[in-house]
Each structure stands twice: as C-alpha cells, then as structure tokens.
C-alpha cells in the first residue's frame, strides 16, 4: 500500500513543480484529442444528422454497422490506420506515422461512430411535434433541418463529450501510431503505461490525476454551456 500512497505524494510534487516531462505529455494529449475531436465532429455530426433525420433504404443496416463500431477496439483501429499510413501503405507518402496528426487521424476514426450514433439518436429522439410546428410556422426543408439540429444541441454536445472521453482515454492507438516518443508523441495514457511498466508509480498516478482533471473540466464546460443555452 505504501508505494501507492507514495505515488499520490509524488503526483502532487510533479504537478506543483511543473515537471516538464509531465506537462509535455499533457499538452500532446490536448493537441491530439482536440484535432481528433474537431475532425470527428466535422464529419460525424452531418453524418449522424443524416442518419437520424432521413429515411432511406438500408438505413437500419447502416445504423447497425455504426452501432457495432461503437465497440471498436483501439488496437484494431491502430492496426488498420498503421497499415494505411505506414511507409508501404496507400497514405504512406503523407508521412503521418509517428506524428501527432497520425494519432489524431486514428483517434478520429475511433470516435467517429460515437459521434454519428449519438447524434443520430439525438435527432431521432426529437419531439415529433417539432417538424409539424416548424412547417406550420413556414419553415422550408433546410430551415427545418437546421432548427432540428439546434433543438438537439444538448444531446449532440453530450455526443461530443462521450467522444472526447473515448479519445483522451485510449492508449492503443497512441502507442501504435505515435510510438510514444518522448517530448513529441508521448500522450498521458502512453506515459502512464510506460511509467507503470518502469515501476514509477508517482509519474503514473500524477498523469492519471491530470487525465481525470481534464475530463472533469470538459464536462464542467459542457454543463456551463447547457445552462447558458
């Protein structure tokens, strides 16, 4: 038990003294997750909206595939993205392997089904009276679609937070695509894995605490946004 408590004490010291290695991992994580979330929201919200709002043949099957992809293992995503962006892969020329954009790309693939599925669920869950109401107020197709998305904004924000939680906590992709390069692609989770492997619980616990703090801040911002809207 003693070494766990010592870990907490070390965590306090690392954070209080602004340990550069710890903060490098924190900033890399923030950079990677911001990029991956932006990309997944950019593509995921319109796709999720279309899936939830429209009726077309095969919709149920696509929905089933998207929902299945919610359980995508990070190492599987890492493996496929690695195959694509490695120097022998079709996207090898882009030089994304062992870079921050490379990790962000793979994380975006990982969380895209979350954004699509939860956005579609949010749109499907809208009050049935909404469309009739907008029609009777004179709204046209595009205006109805846009207003529907605005009406579902809280649930869409929740989708974004869930996606962020998945991206910030994954380790397989960051390890495989980023290579855990110190001062460059080392994220909080890969650093925790490494430090724990080395037996340095203090650094691991410190990073774990930072990870939880980040998640807390993101959720708190969401709560504030919901209240404001």
């Amino acid at each position: 038990m003693g070494y766990i408590l010592n870990g907490f004490v070390r965590a306090g010291i690392l954070l209080a003294t602004g340990n550069p290695e710890t903060f490098s991992a924190v900033f890399t994580t923030l950079k990677v997750t911001s990029m991956s979330i932006m990309a997944s929201l950019f593509f995921g919200i319109p796709a999720g909206f279309f899936l939830g709002y429209s009726n077309f043949p095969g919709k149920k099957h696509i929905r089933a595939v998207v929902d299945t992809l919610l359980a995508l293992p990070t190492v599987v995503v890492g493996l496929f993205v690695y195959a694509f962006i490695s120097y022998r892969g079709p996207l090898g020329r882009l030089g994304l392997l062992f870079t921050i954009p490379g990790i962000a790309l793979a994380q975006a693939v990982l969380v895209l089904p979350i954004v699509i599925s939860l956005t579609a669920t949010a749109i499907e869950g809208l009050d049935r009276r909404l469309k009739s109401t907008l029609l009777t107020l004179g709204a046209r197709k595009k205006q109805i679609a846009l207003t529907s998305l605005v009406e579902a904004r809280h649930a869409v924000m929740t989708a974004a937070v869930a996606a962020y939680g998945r991206a910030i906590s994954e380790v397989g992709i960051s390890m495989m695509i980023g290579g855990n390069i110190k001062w460059y692609t080392r994220t909080i989770t890969t650093a925790i894995a490494l430090e724990t492997g080395k037996g340095d619980f203090g650094e691991g616990v410190a990073l774990g605490i930072v990870l939880l703090l980040l998640a807390f801040v993101v959720n708190w911002v969401l709560i504030l946004l919901k209240r404001k809207k």
Partner: protein, 341 residues
C-alpha cells in the same frame, strides 16, 4: 383565381393502413370564414386540420387553396396557413426567439423586436416580463399563448387551432377568443377551429361542421346513440340503459349500429307525458343550459341514465317550464327520429 374559394376539397380520402380516417366527397371553405369542427374523439378532426394546414396530404382526392392544388409540403401556400396544435411545441429558446421564428424564416426582420413585443402584448404577455423567459419557465396557458403569438405575428391568411382551450383556464380561453376575433377583424384572417367547448366554439366561430367517423354530417350538433340493439316488441329495437330505461329505434342496419338524433327532434317536459305516440320517454336531469347562436334558442344538455343528450328549446319554452340545471326532466322523441349513420 380571386374568385376561387379559400379551400376546396374534392373526393378526399385519408387512411392509416386499411382504416379510413377521412372520407369527404366535397367541402368548400370561403375566404374570411370562421368555422369550427366538432365531433367525438377519433372522428378525424385533427387529421382534417393537418390536411388543411398542408402538413398531411390525402391518399386520394385534392385540396385546393385559393384555386391552387396542394401537392407537397414545400408549396408556397404553406406560408399563408398556420396551425396551432393542441399541445404546442415551443423551441428550446427564449419566448422572444419562439415568437420571432416565423418572421426569421421569412427573412422579414424589419422592426422585429417591436413586432414580437406587439404580438406578446396582444396575447396578454407583457414583453418586459416574458420576452426573455425560456421555454421551460412558462405555465401551460402561457406556452399556449406564446405559441399563439408566434402564429399571429406572421399574419396568416388562415389560422387553424386544434383545441386551443383544452389546457387553459377560463381567463386564457377568453383571451384567446378575443385575440382571434381581433385579428380576424383587423386582417380578415380565416379561422378553422376544433374545440369540444361548444360555448367557446359558438362564440368564436360563425358555423360548425360536425364530423363523425371521418365523414361530414351537416352543419349542426347531433346526439350519437351507439348500439348494441336488441329486438323488442312491435318491430322495434331497443338499447338498454342503466336504471332500466330503454331507447327504442326502428330497423337498425346491424346490432351495433350507431344512430344520430337531432336535438330539434327531442321534446323536453317537466312532467311525464301520457297518451303520447312517441316511444322514447326518458327521465333525465339538466346538466347545463346555454344560449345558442341562433336567436331565441337555448341549448339544454341533459344526462339520461348517465348518457349525455343535447336538446334545443326556445327561450320562451325554457322560461315557461322553468328549466334550470339540476332539474329533473323528461326527454321525449320518436323511435323514427333516430337516423342510422
């Protein structure tokens, strides 16, 4: 085109699956009309309102608006008609944004704030108190009035209201009636209203269309007497009521047939009639009395073994008989007065 009626419905059929919801061979509504639709639950009133508001379209037949056939939801004519649902939906925004929405989608942003405030005042909601309230900070009656304000602000050619007074108090119901009367006078807005509140309905509209099982009956209120019917003496059929009272009818088409009974075919008496040819002499109690739109007529609602029956008498007769709510009366009508639906 200006001579065309506001609405012209021809051979309209609307069904869910195999079930007929509406079947209207012909109906016209003229510009400036103020019409109410009445009928029992499930008779197709709300569906007809949605068709008239162009948010539903018939399976067969045509609905023309000012001579233009309605074809799809995006027809420009949907801009001229607005429907207020019984349980209105408010956008998850402030009252101001809710009321302004109709103008924003029309890109009509001149004097937006002033127009929103005027509409709110019109429905009795002071803008300084209500404009910045959020949708969840309103009572049921206030939500109804915000929804009404968001519709009258667009100055529609037709205002359609589905049970506007169902969830509001008397004061709000009065206010809604005042508002729709004033916009009708001011802008010539046509009104189509579904309401079970016959007093409010009579005051707010000029004529009533009764719908029963998806068909338009005629422009008045009728009693509906449902089966089952069992054979009785002298070739009559009877429906048993609690308290051992019976309603007699002639030749129902089937055992569960529904009969229509006009209020004008019912005689109201304070004493049990004797030596009378009418077969139906039923004891009841007056539950309410109201003035009819027709001058000199009083509508009497009575409960006969718990079954509501509406009768119509002259003001003079009501005075002579000293009819008041709570008084025991006899309602009398012929078996042949029951017309089969």
């Amino acid at each position: 085109m200006s001579d065309a009626p506001l609405y012209e419905i021809k051979d309209l059929e609307y069904r869910y699956g195999d079930k007929f919801i509406l079947n209207i061979p012909h109906l016209t509504i003229e510009k400036g009309d103020s019409i109410s639709l009445s009928g029992p639950n499930g008779s197709g009133k709300s569906t007809l309102l949605k068709i008239l508001a162009f948010i539903e379209f018939p399976c067969r037949g045509t609905v023309s608006f000012n001579g233009i056939k309605a074809t799809n939801v995006n027809a420009p004519l949907t801009q001229n008609v607005t429907l207020l649902l019984q349980d209105p939906y408010l956008l998850k925004k402030t009252v101001f944004e809710n009321v302004a929405y109709g103008l924003r989608v029309r890109r009509s942003k001149d004097n937006l704030t002033a127009r929103v405030c005027e509409s709110l005042r019109l429905v009795g909601l002071p803008p300084e108190r209500f404009a910045q309230r959020r949708w969840y900070e309103l009572s049921g009656g206030e939500s109804q009035r915000v929804a009404l304000a968001s519709r009258i602000i667009i100055n529609p050619e037709v205002l359609i209201l589905d049970e506007p007074t169902a969830n509001v108090d008397q004061q709000s119901a009065f206010l809604i009636k005042e508002v729709i009367s004033s916009i009708r006078k001011k802008f010539g807005t046509s009104l189509i209203i579904v309401s079970h509140d016959h007093i409010w309905r009579n005051q707010a509209t000029d004529k009533n269309i009764e719908i029963y099982e998806g068909r338009i009956r005629e422009y008045s209120t009728h009693n509906i007497v449902r089966g089952p019917w069992t054979p009785a003496a002298e070739g009559l059929w009877e429906k048993n009521l609690p308290d051992n009272q019976k309603i007699y009818a002639v030749n129902p088409p089937d055992k569960n047939a529904t009969a229509i009974l006009s209020p004008s075919n019912i005689i109201v008496s304070t004493e049990q009639p004797v030596s009378i040819s009418a077969q139906n002499i039923l004891k009841g109690i007056i539950t309410s009395m109201n003035l009819e739109k027709e001058p000199g007529k009083v509508r009497i609602d009575a409960a006969v073994s718990g079954m509501p029956l509406t009768c119509c008498v002259t003001q003079h007769a009501a005075g002579d008989l000293q009819l008041i709510p709570g008084k025991d009366v006899w309602v009398v009508f012929k078996a042949s007065s029951l017309q089969w639906h």
